[in-house]
Point group: C2
Chain length 288, copies 2
């Protein structure tokens, strides 16, 4: 792989994640050119005006033909369509990666159409915000967050190491490697389940009469309920089997704790709370 400073990097999709990645690259890396492709002229021109990107394009042909690295920051469906439709444009030996919240389908479908000289490595930043759009992008959201990569036998060790190096340099704390399938299983639990629960709590018919009686726990549990509807419909649709399985585990766990509460089984209730306290502290240590 080249030196970082010889690279042209193109970010496709200049929303919350794409914008944040562009800002993080500008802040932390010296590259030859940082380009962005989007259909949103406003995001492109704002980003160029403020010096985040060197140039911007609605037509991806030129930047793809000249970029060693392409980072897809679009919704899953758009990512797939874009890669398929622009397959002939990518520069020889380019490394393409994505940031979308599902990996199984993306990786499988991309590999089907991939030219032999290109490499695709699936990726997913463990970071985000309950807002969307370039105007909310912020490189600080990556600081201390982990990043999941799903390389496979088609990827060279060099490319994986090079991508990891870039991700660590732009602020991620730890790069975790897993398979696309394991990613989708885990993410159903760590990300999709919290989003679904947040939305269900918010749409509970009791909310309106309770709004004056909410404290920190309710605010936190529902933070992500101000959800990017189109994106999350896609993510759940594409990860249907796993999210349904997680929801069914949760129903079992709720039924179990209902029995415990109903039977005044304080011993079992304590053991859940004690375990949960110990495990939750691990996240804080992890974060520190």
């Amino acid at each position: 792989m080249n030196n970082i400073e010889d690279l042209n990097i193109t970010v496709v999709g200049l929303g919350l994640i794409g914008g944040s990645i562009a800002k993080a690259i500008r802040k932390n890396l010296k590259v030859r050119n940082l380009w962005a492709v989007d259909l949103d002229i406003n995001a492109l021109s704002e980003s160029k005006k403020s010096g985040i990107i060197d140039n911007c394009y609605v037509d991806p042909k030129y930047p793809l033909q000249n970029s060693e690295i392409v980072i897809m920051c679009t919704y899953p469906d758009t990512t797939l369509d874009f890669i398929k439709n622009n397959m002939i444009h990518f520069k020889q030996n380019a490394l393409i990666t994505d940031t979308s919240g599902i990996k199984g389908k993306i990786v499988t479908e991309v590999k089907k159409v991939m030219r032999d000289d290109l490499e695709f490595i699936g990726g997913h930043p463990m970071s985000g915000k309950e807002t969307f759009g370039y105007q909310f992008s912020d490189d600080a959201i990556f600081l201390g967050a982990n990043y999941i990569l799903t390389p496979d036998e088609s990827n060279t060790e060099d490319s994986v190491s090079f991508l990891k190096e870039i991700l660590l340099k732009i602020g991620f704390k730890k790069i975790v490697e897993t398979t696309p399938q394991m990613h989708d299983e885990i993410i159903a639990y760590t990300s999709q389940l919290p989003h679904v629960i947040a939305s269900l709590l918010m749409t509970n018919s009791k909310f309106e009469k309770s709004i004056d009686c909410i404290g920190g726990s309710f605010k936190d549990i529902t933070r992500v309920a101000d959800i990017n509807c189109d994106l999350w419909c896609q993510l759940l649709y594409e990860n249907k089997k796993n999210i349904l399985s997680e929801l069914s585990v949760l129903i079992n766990d709720i039924n179990n704790i209902c029995d415990i509460i109903n039977n005044d089984d304080l011993h079992s209730l304590e053991s859940i709370f004690k375990k949960s306290s110990i495990l939750r502290k691990e996240i804080n240590y992890e974060k520190a």
Copy 2:
């Protein structure tokens, strides 16, 4: 009621809430004396040394005999026992209030034993922290938070207004009045349900293998899973009917969204997410 500066106020229980209330009183009010009662000598002496309280007591007799206002900041059971056991000590015409997370049982039981010359008004600050103990107390946790009061026909308008005035002065944003029964119903949804869900997500067997793949949504939804076990066992036990009912509503809502996802019913999924986004924004406006 007296002027605030003529008051002796006693805080019983110098933990997270009692300590925070004492600090908020010291910072915002000029009172004759601010006293604390606790069995924890360390919390008492730390609080006295730093000038938060004027004096501290393990034996509550003297401060109760001389306080116009007594604020109970202990667990529900302790609150009830303490008030019952010290009924003869309270100063004539004193106003007693509490801060515990259940109101139905507390208010009913306290009223049974209350002397005619005393007043009890149930209270509950919509604020807390995922930690406990005096060392974490902080008056800033009340800023912008609401406070629920559950006065009834036994309370004078004067006492209720006076207590409200004090609460607003020490940092609460809005004082909400409701019945003890309505409080317990609402709080099962806005506070107990989030705590139970947080604990169930943390004790899911998938957690250990997922710890490197968690982002903001999981961290936020589980923040309160580092739970004060003894306190929360009491709160759930005392509010059993309401929390069981909320858990059963949640199971129905989960089953419903499972059907929606299973049937690829994107229209219904969108309508849940759109509603949840709109409603969640109300909390942010409310907070601002």
